[in-house]
């Protein structure tokens, strides 16, 4: 948005990540890993909460200033695939179907299962990456490098 969005300032900007997982232990883990990797973290326990945070939860007519600023501040969404209610895949599709800036936010899908058809459908629907659980510190370091290099 601003003219000073050069490579060097991108490297110094703190990434704000929205991490979505129904499992408490996995939320704790992803939160800790992201914080060590100098990211700001917001966690959500399901897809609906995640959408609410992003300003998509309630009445589309409502332009709540708090939630619309959340959209601008989230640089990355990391979501578990298997969640009750809305799956990570459904969340991905909702984000990518948006007409606002939100659709440009990269979405990373996490799953404990390495199923090629699952991976392919996520990538085909616009997922930035598909990663296997359990998450390690080195996974996020790689992810950050990948994302920061992709930012223009």
């Amino acid at each position: 948005m601003s003219a000073s969005d050069s490579c060097s300032s991108s490297m110094e900007e703190e990434l704000h990540v929205l991490a979505v997982d129904d499992n408490l232990i996995d939320r704790k883990l992803v939160e800790r890993i992201l914080k060590i990797s100098s990211c700001k973290v917001t966690t959500a326990e399901n897809g609906l909460r995640a959408l609410e945070y992003l300003g998509l939860g309630g009445d589309p007519q409502q332009s709540d200033p708090v939630t619309s600023t959340n959209v601008m501040k989230v640089n990355l969404i990391i979501t578990d695939y298997c969640m009750p209610g809305m799956t990570g895949f459904e969340l991905l599709k909702k984000v990518k179907q948006e007409s606002s800036k939100l659709k440009e936010v990269p979405v990373v899908i996490l799953s404990s299962e390495n199923i090629p058809t699952r991976i392919n459908k996520c990538l085909a629907s616009g997922a930035q990456m598909f990663m296997q659980k359990p998450l390690k510190l080195s996974d996020v370091e790689k992810l950050k490098c990948h994302l920061l290099n992709c930012r223009i």
Binding site: D26, K28, L29, S112, P134
Partner: protein, 157 residues
């Protein structure tokens, strides 16, 4: 600081840790978990495993209720519980617990109540066993710190 005592405790800690991996209680993910602990978050591992054990107790209890009546088993609930447990155990490196969950899921998939009950009993045993072992490990850590020493880095390979 009694350096001999510290060295002995550190050695005990190291040996104990290695044995937990060798006996299959823990896997590499536990090592990864330890990497997330530092001076700023010195109790991270203890906190996470504590949450894990609480989670185990609750999930096992819920599943045992679902499996109670032979004529009325809610396999969907059991499957959901096993899925949660498998995920959590995998995330903290609780290898034996995770392995029982794999077998448990198979019993659930074919709606084998007897098999599920056996797995339930086994997973209950395994998480309690791990809880005791990790408590011993954390106690050794505390003893080292109280004796003025530092927790050694343990190379599992």
């Amino acid at each position: 600081m009694n350096t001999i005592v510290v060295a002995q405790l550190q050695r005990q800690f190291q040996d104990y840790m290695v044995s937990l991996y060798q006996q299959g209680y823990l896997d590499n993910q536990f090592t990864e978990l330890r990497k997330l602990q530092d001076e700023g978050s010195p109790d991270f591992v203890a906190e996470v495993v504590s949450l894990f054990f609480d989670d185990c107790a609750k999930l096992i209890n819920d599943m045992s209720i679902s499996l109670e009546r032979p004529d009325h088993v809610d396999f969907k609930q059991v499957d959901s519980g096993v899925h949660q447990l498998k995920g959590s155990s995998s995330s903290v490196g609780a290898r034996r617990v995770k392995n029982v969950c794999i077998a448990f899921k198979e019993c659930c998939d074919v709606q084998n109540r007897e098999g599920c009950l056996r797995c339930l009993q086994q997973v209950d045993y395994e998480y309690k066993m791990l809880k005791t072992k990790l408590q011993d490990l954390f106690n050794l850590e505390q003893q080292i710190l109280q004796a003025g020493g530092t927790i050694p880095q343990v190379d599992i390979n």
